[in-house]
Symmetry: C2
Amino acid sequence: MGVTRTDLFTEKQNELAKIAKVFAHPARIAILEYLIQSDTCINGDLVQELGLAQATISQHLRELKETGLIKGSIEGVSVCYCIDPIRWTEVQHLFQELFGGFPKISGCC
Amino acid sequence: MGVTRTDLFTEKQNELAKIAKVFAHPARIAILEYLIQSDTCINGDLVQELGLAQATISQHLRELKETGLIKGSIEGVSVCYCIDPIRWTEVQHLFQELFGGFPKISGCC
DNA sequence: TAATTACATTGCAATATTACGATATATTAT
DNA sequence: ATAATATATCGTAATATTGCAATGTAATTA
């Protein structure tokens, strides 16, 4: 008990839930917004920008990387993180698909 | 330690994260999809549809209710749950706003 | 080479989430 | 009123997440 029963749901449902989980933390939202808005995209700036410890931000970045929403490239001593446009659009479409399903013709309530 | 530092982020960032958290579980995705697709919307059907215990589903429904995405009306002995169209659109726009922000003109990476 | 800088990883404590049995509540049927 | 039915809530065990200090790693500079 206490472990999500992914076996009960479709692969797509599990996938969307997993992606949503990445958006389910204000720090990760803030990181994404920063990467979208900023001209520069150096990891160190994020530590300055958000008030969290470097280790914590690194952890959030890893989760964003794992979902493929961002990608990092080594830029000398530092690392440049950016939104991955392909994946970004892909994820956008997944959410659009869910939201677009409603309303339906059937008027139950 | 262990508690999200909401004080570091904007109200909007915290709000979006909170909403995303509701989508961050396959059971809740499945419930929403069921409510969108089904002609009927009786709670009991959900217990049949998903393989989770009644208590567990009731808990997920509460979280969906708390974000305002669904609303329930008592229908005799049972309860009819439905998507709240107003809130649904509102949440849809919040996500669209985030996704629409990218790409920007600035080409950093 | 040694020191510095930037970021990642590890380990751990605090807290949150998930699932479900048991039980409470509320409506309908007998 | 009593029983039956449907859903909500409580309590709790298992697991996951969050945050950070400490430490590891890799490139850069002195």
